[in-house]
Amino acid sequence: MITLKDLTKSYRSGERKIDVLKELDLEIEQGDMLAIMGRSGSGKSTLLNILAGLDTPDSGTYRYHQTYVSEMNGNERAKFRRQNIGFIVQNYALVDSKNVFENIALPLRYSKLSKKEIKNKVEHMLMELNITKLKHKAVDTLSGGEMQRVAIARALIQDPALILADEPTGSLDVQTESEILDIFTKLNQQGKTLVIVTHDQVVADHCHNTYYMQDGMVTPVAS
């Protein structure tokens, strides 16, 4: 499904040049549920952002099915994100000036759907994640677990084939973490491909494969 080849990415901060990705190679099969671990600053988020089509590699190729994402321009990548990617970040990134419904509906606002279609989709998603009662709440009144469910709902609203999660359980308690993991497992069973960046061995244990990121490359961890 995904082939990354010789991916490099470096950042310049002042005089210093930081090589974050160094000729990284990675294959991801459709239907996989994959964990990426590694030290802080090792480049996990960078990799995920490139997979999401948010960031671009300096060199190397990113192939998604038959298309080369690494060749796309900004508008094409925005369209690619809309059609294929669900993105979940650590701190339950929600827009605090919008309520739960509007947060979940946000990706649909960038597609050409009618009001009614949007409403139906969001309500379906609220039901799937068991948060129908939160529909009209302001996001700053939610608990951490609730916020993360809303963020997941937004990531899933376009029915993306690839779900990318950057430390999705990083600041949740054990109980909530296991609920979120159940959701991920269910999604995977429905046929979604998941890539989860995590520090947490428990999360990694729920995945089929685990990679370790170091020195700008990823290596599989034997299970």
């Binding site: 948010l54 900004g74 994100r81 809309r82 970040v89 650590q90 000036s97 946000l106 606002r109 937004r154």
Partner: protein
């Protein structure tokens, strides 16, 4: 489109006091530029087309010396006569055909006791007993004084005799003043008859020039229909000579005070009439004059500000222009930097950087456009002079403000990399 509107509204809530402050600044900017525009545009009053009088608007000039003490105090000022004469001359000069004077001041005539004269007495129609109306030996008869423009504009029709000519409106020492008599005088006088009278206590010899057709009426602010059948119509005289004695001086003062309380007939906007009057006031040094029908708080405001002086207005609007642009760019750049997190959410939801920029741009358009629109509507309502030109100028000011204040933001957008935006939103 709806999306943009939504985002703008949400964003406006974010730093609403700062935004409101900017909106006020922009409002004042548009206001001062409107005033500046007015000081620079000298739209000359187009001379009246020959429209029927009733289709024109008319404004009544009214001196502010309403209280008697104020009036007396003014009369006592040594140069008051020169001032009002000058004022009158400037009125005629500035307003030309638009300035119509039609005043209702009785003329005193020795008529004896014959009741055939009663209906001509001043106040006869008001129903007071005749005895009270009669004075001795001179009796007050109904009369109007009319200036040359008024005579032409009302085009008073005669049944016989001659209309007034231009020189009839200038008093010539020792010569009889021509008058036109209402139709009901016809049995008692003939063209060429002379009448000894007093007008404002000064002796005048009148000569009958002609008779007015029955049922002819004129009007002024006090009388919507003034039938002339029982009236003496006298030219509003101009006295080029300076007064010979104190009594004469007092006469001329009162006469000219009446003369300046005329009417303006025009199809022009109130603002234009008001502005022309302001110029007459300024040129003559006589400011106790109002224009009834063209005064409003908004116009008062406009003229009080314009009087301030043009340089100050120029400085104010250029300063405001700079301040507005600075505040808007600061607000927008601040919002931009506050909002990495929200922007990254939008980006991962499928937005492009261009779309994010368009939200900010729409917010600027809104902050500048709304006050601009309000002031434009106000201008249309209150002033409505050269509206096309004004709108053009406003559009230019609007575009310039939006463009310049969006530049810093545009620069921020063009140099930001998505990766660092995402990084900073973590």
């Amino acid at each position: 489109m709806k999306m943009i509107l939504n985002e703008v509204l949400e964003s406006l809530k974010r730093r609403k006091w700062f935004s409101a402050l900017i909106a006020i600044q922009v409002t004042v900017l548009f206001l001062t530029s409107a005033l500046l525009f007015l000081t620079y545009t000298h739209i000359e009053g187009k001379s009246d087309r020959l429209q029927p009088l009733k289709e024109l608007n008319f404004y009544q000039l009214s001196d502010d010396l309403a209280s008697d003490s104020k009036f007396q105090a003014f009369l006592k000022r040594p140069n008051s006569l020169q001032i009002i004469k000058k004022f009158y001359k400037n009125l005629e000069h500035r307003f030309g055909k638009r300035f119509v004077y039609l005043f209702n001041q009785h003329i005193d005539v020795k008529i004896g006791d014959d009741p055939k004269w009663d209906k001509f007495l001043y106040g006869y129609e008001h129903g007071a007993p005749i005895e009270q109306l009669k004075k001795h030996p001179y009796n007050p008869l109904k009369a109007v004084q009319i200036n040359e423009q008024g005579f032409t504009r009302f085009s008073i029709p005669l049944s016989n005799g001659h209309p007034f000519s231009a020189q009839d409106f200038h008093y010539r020492q020792g010569e009889a003043v021509p008058v036109l008599l209402g139709a009901e005088y016809q049995p008692f006088y003939q063209v060429g008859d002379e009448i000894k009278t007093k007008y404002l206590r000064k002796d005048f010899k009148l000569v009958v020039r002609g008779f007015i057709q029955p049922d002819t009426f004129v009007f002024n602010a006090n009388n919507p229909e003034l039938y002339l059948d029982r009236y003496i119509v006298m030219p509003a005289l101009q006295f080029s000579n300076s007064p010979k004695n104190e009594a004469d001086e007092r006469f001329q003062k009162i006469h000219y005070m009446q003369l300046i309380n005329g009417m303006i007939f025009t199809n022009e906007k109130p603002y234009v009439v008001r502005r022309d009057l302001e110029q007459v006031k300024k040129a003559s040094g006589f400011t106790d004059m109002q224009l009834i029908g063209a005064n409003s708080d908004s116009l008062d405001f406009v003229f009080s500000v314009i009087r301030v002086n043009v340089e100050l207005l120029q400085i104010m609007s250029s300063a405001l222009f700079v301040v507005c642009i600075l505040s808007i760019s600061i607000l927008m750049v601040t919002k931009f930097q506050d909002n990495f997190r929200n922007m990254s959410i939008h980006l991962s939801s499928g937005a492009t950087l261009n779309q994010l920029f368009s939200y900010f741009l729409a917010e600027i358009l809104f902050i500048v456009g709304l006050p601009g629109l309000v002031i434009t509507l106000w201008y249309k309502q209150v002033i409505d002079v050269s509206f096309g030109m004004y709108t053009l100028m406003n559009l230019m000011l609007f575009s310039l403000t939006v463009l310049i204040s969006a530049l810093p933001l545009y620069w921020q957008f063009s140099k930001i990399e998505i990766s660092s935006l995402l990084k900073r939103s973590e």
